[in-house]
Symmetry: C2
Subunit: 87 residues, 2 copies
């Protein structure tokens, strides 16, 4: 398994499309940020699909980590997620 | 040293303020995403300052990793950064 953090920067009216798609695989942690654990194969598939969804002047960033790596997330401001450490 | 990825979600007219501040410490890799290596102490300071800068309905997410952890970043779409692996 791997751990992924995905951040997308798309036109405002197209965010629902990305939200709907990514919710199937990952946890929505901030406006345009998803994260979670998935298999290597699923991550490859998600990357390809995201790439096909993009239009001009839009971008997606995918961070991939071994699911064992120590990543600490701190959230400030108006956000339902609390400080969480996750493997 | 630690490795940080910072994603902010603030009102559009306030992004320059966050850009200007974070540029002093980290690399701007996508619209509202900064990342880079910094000392633990600097990260604590950056977190506190970001927290003080936030207004209602705004949030900032800070991911902190040991700077030795293996993190692979893939970027799709219109973005100057290429695929980069970084320690």
């Amino acid at each position: 398994m791997v751990y992924a953090i995905i951040v997308y920067d798309v036109q405002a009216d197209r965010t629902p499309k990305f939200l709907k798609y990514l919710r199937r695989y990952l946890t929505h942690v901030q406006n345009s940020v998803f994260e979670g654990e998935l298999t290597e194969g699923t991550l490859v598939e998600v990357k390809e699909t995201l790439q096909s969804m993009l239009e001009e002047e839009e971008s997606v960033m995918v961070y991939r980590m071994d699911s064992g790596s120590y990543v600490e997330r701190s959230v400030y401001g108006d956000d339902p997620m609390d400080d969480q450490q996750f493997l």
